[in-house]
C-alpha cells in the first residue's frame, strides 16, 4: 500500500502528527493493523536502530521516532488485542532497588515497544519481590533491569538470586544494562545477556525470545 510507506517515513523521521494521521486514515480505509505493524512500523524502528548504530541518529532521534511509533500504536493496539494477536514478547522492566536513574531504562522501554514488545514498566527503585510479582502476574517472557551506579549495581545480583529462589528462573530470560555493566558482570550474576544501549537491547530481547 503506497500510503503506508508514508507511515514508515513518519516514524523514521519522528513525525508524531503525521504518524497519527496516516494511521487513522489507513485504519479507516481498511488496512490490516497487523500488516501495518509488521511491514511498515517495526521496519521503520529497525531502521532507526540501524542509524543509531551507524552514528547517524542519537538519543534525541530515537526518542522522537519512538514517540511517533507510540502515537500510531495507540490506535492499533486495541485492534490487535481484539484479534488476539500476541506481542513480540512481554517484558517486565525497571531500575533495581536503590537506583533512581531511569533515563536509560526509559529509552530501552521505548525501543522495545517500538519493536512490538509489550512493556510492563515498574519504574525506579524496584525491589526483587516486585519484579517477581509482575513477571508472574503478567506471564512475562523477559525481565530487563538496569542500574547506573556501581554502588547500586549489585541489586541486580540480588534480584537474579531472588528470581531463582522464587522458583521462576526457568520461566524468564533476564537482561541487564547500565553504565557500569559489562558482559563479564552479566555472566557472573547469572543474567542471560546485557546491552550497552537501547538498540542493542532490542536485538538482545529478540535473540532471547528466539532462544
Amino acid at each position: 500500500m503506497e500510503d503506508l510507506k508514508k507511515l514508515y517515513d513518519a516514524i523514521l523521521t519522528g513525525n508524531f502528527k503525521a504518524a497519527k494521521e496516516i494511521t487513522q486514515q489507513a485504519l479507516a480505509a481498511g488496512a490490516d493493523p497487523q500488516e501495518m505493524v509488521q511491514k511498515h512500523m517495526i521496519p521503520a524502528m529497525d531502521e532507526v536502530g540501524r542509524r543509531y548504530e551507524a552514528n547517524e541518529y542519537f538519543v534525541p532521534e530515537l526518542l522522537i521516532s519512538a514517540r511517533a511509533m507510540k502515537a500510531s500504536l495507540e490506535f492499533i493496539r486495541p485492534l490487535l488485542a481484539a484479534k488476539g494477536a500476541e506481542p513480540a514478547g512481554r517484558v517486565v522492566i525497571g531500575t533495581v532497588k536503590g537506583d533512581l536513574h531511569d533515563i536509560g531504562k526509559n529509552l530501552v522501554a521505548a525501543m522495545l515497544e517500538g519493536a512490538g514488545f509489550e512493556v510492563i514498566d515498574l519504574g525506579v527503585d524496584v525491589p526483587p519481590e516486585k519484579f517477581i510479582a509482575a513477571l508472574n502476574e503478567k506471564h512475562a517472557h523477559l525481565v530487563a533491569m538496569s542500574a547506573l551506579l556501581t554502588t547500586t549495581m549489585n541489586s541486580m545480583k540480588t534480584t537474579v538470586e531472588a528470581i531463582k529462589s522464587a522458583g521462576v528462573r526457568a520461566k524468564v530470560k533476564i537482561m541487564i544494562g547500565g553504565a557500569p555493566v559489562t558482559e563479564k558482570y552479566a555472566e557472573e550474576i547469572g543474567a542471560d545477556g546485557y546491552s550497552t544501549n537501547a538498540n542493542g537491547a532490542v536485538a538482545l530481547a529478540r535473540r532471547l525470545m528466539a532462544a
Partner: protein, 289 residues
C-alpha cells in the same frame, strides 16, 4: 579571566579530587541512600572524605552536592532541604580545605530528560538557580557543572551558575557513538566547547565516561576547540566483578602515568571520577606536579 582561576592556574596542571560516593560507602553509606543527605546526618564522615583528598594533594576539592538540586533530591524525599544540604556541603569542604585547597562546588544533572517532557526547561533552570545560589552564599569559590549528558541541560545549569558571579566549570560525559566521542545526545567535543563557552562557562571539561584512554583524544579536541582552560576527570576504566565485589582494575600508578598525556595536551585541571580514590590523587600529584 576570573581572579580565582587566574590564581589557581599559576601552576598547572591543577590536581582536583576523585570519587566521593565510593569513599562514603566505605564509611558506611548504604547503597541507595542519598549521599548528599549525609551533609546533614553524617557531616563528620563527609568531612573525612574531603580531608582524604586535601591530604592526598588535591589543589581543588569539590563538595558532596552532586545531586543537591530540587529535582534530584525529590526522589530521595529531600526536596525541601535544598538550601541546607548545599550549604552543609560547602561548609564541610571549606573546613577540610582550610588554606590548602580551593573549594569548587559540584552541580550534577537532574536525572530527568528535557526531551521526554518529564520536566520543563523552566523547572530545570529554577532548580539550578536555587542550588547555585545556595552554594555561592555558603562560600564556594566556584561552581562545577559536571557529568552532564545533555548539552541543553548543561547550558541551563551554566546560565544559572553564571548569575552568581563565581567562575564556572562545565564538564560533560562523552561515552556514546561508535568512537565513544559523543555525549548521550550526540554532541561532539567541538559543539560542547563552543556552546558551553557561549553560555558563559569559564572552563570546559569532560568527566566520568569510559576511562582515561578515551578521554585523552577528547582532551586534545577540547583543547583545540577553545581558548578556555580544560578540565578532565575520567573514570578508572570500567568496573569488573572480582570475587563477588565490584572493582576497578586500573591502578593509581597506571592512571597517573596515562594522565601525563593529558598534561601534554595542555589540560589545566586533572582529577578522577568513578573508581578513583585519594590514592589516585596522590599518584596524580606525584607524577604531574
Amino acid at each position: 579571566m576570573h581572579p580565582t582561576l587566574d590564581r589557581l592556574l599559576r601552576k598547572t596542571p591543577v590536581i582536583t579530587d576523585g570519587a566521593w560516593g565510593t569513599q562514603l560507602q566505605a564509611l558506611g553509606l548504604p547503597p541507595g541512600e542519598c549521599p548528599d543527605g549525609w551533609n546533614l546526618s553524617h557531616p563528620e564522615k563527609v568531612r573525612r572524605v574531603a580531608q582524604f583528598y586535601v591530604d592526598a594533594g588535591s589543589n581543588v576539592i569539590l563538595t558532596n552536592t552532586f545531586r543537591s538540586n530540587r529535582i534530584a533530591l525529590e526522589g530521595f524525599g529531600l526536596a525541601d532541604r535544598v538550601a541546607e544540604i548545599n550549604a552543609g556541603g560547602v561548609r564541610i569542604s571549606l573546613a577540610a580545605a582550610s588554606s590548602r585547597a580551593t573549594v569548587l562546588a559540584s552541580i550534577g544533572p537532574t536525572g530527568k530528560m528535557l526531551m521526554s517532557e518529564e520536566v520543563t526547561a523552566e523547572e530545570m533552570a529554577s532548580a539550578f538557580q536555587e542550588q547555585a545560589k545556595a552554594l555561592a552564599e555558603a562560600g564556594a569559590a566556584g561552581l562545577v557543572i559536571e557529568t552532564m549528558s545533555d548539552l541543553e541541560e548543561a547550558k541551563l545549569a551554566v546560565k544559572a551558575a553564571r548569575a552568581t558571579g563565581l567562575p564556572v566549570v562545565a564538564s560533560m560525559v562523552f561515552d556514546s557513538g561508535k568512537e565513544k566521542d559523543r555525549t548521550m545526545m550526540g554532541s561532539t567535543p567541538e559543539q560542547v566547547a563552543e556552546e558551553l563557552a557561549a553560555a558563559g562557562a569559564d572552563v570546559i571539561g569532560a568527566n566520568c565516561g569510559l576511562g582515561m584512554k578515551g578521554y585523552i583524544p577528547i582532551a586534545r579536541r577540547l583543547r583545540a576547540a577553545t581558548t578556555l582552560p580544560v578540565w578532565i576527570k575520567p573514570n578508572a576504566g570500567l568496573p569488573e566483578m572480582v570475587n563477588g565485589s565490584i572493582t576497578y582494575r586500573t591502578s593509581p600508578e597506571e592512571f597517573a602515568t596515562q594522565a601525563l598525556a593529558l598534561r601534554e595536551a595542555g589540560v589545566a585541571f586533572i582529577g578522577g571520577c568513578c573508581g578513583t580514590s585519594p590514592m589516585f590523587v596522590q599518584a596524580l600529584a606525584h607524577t604531574l606536579r
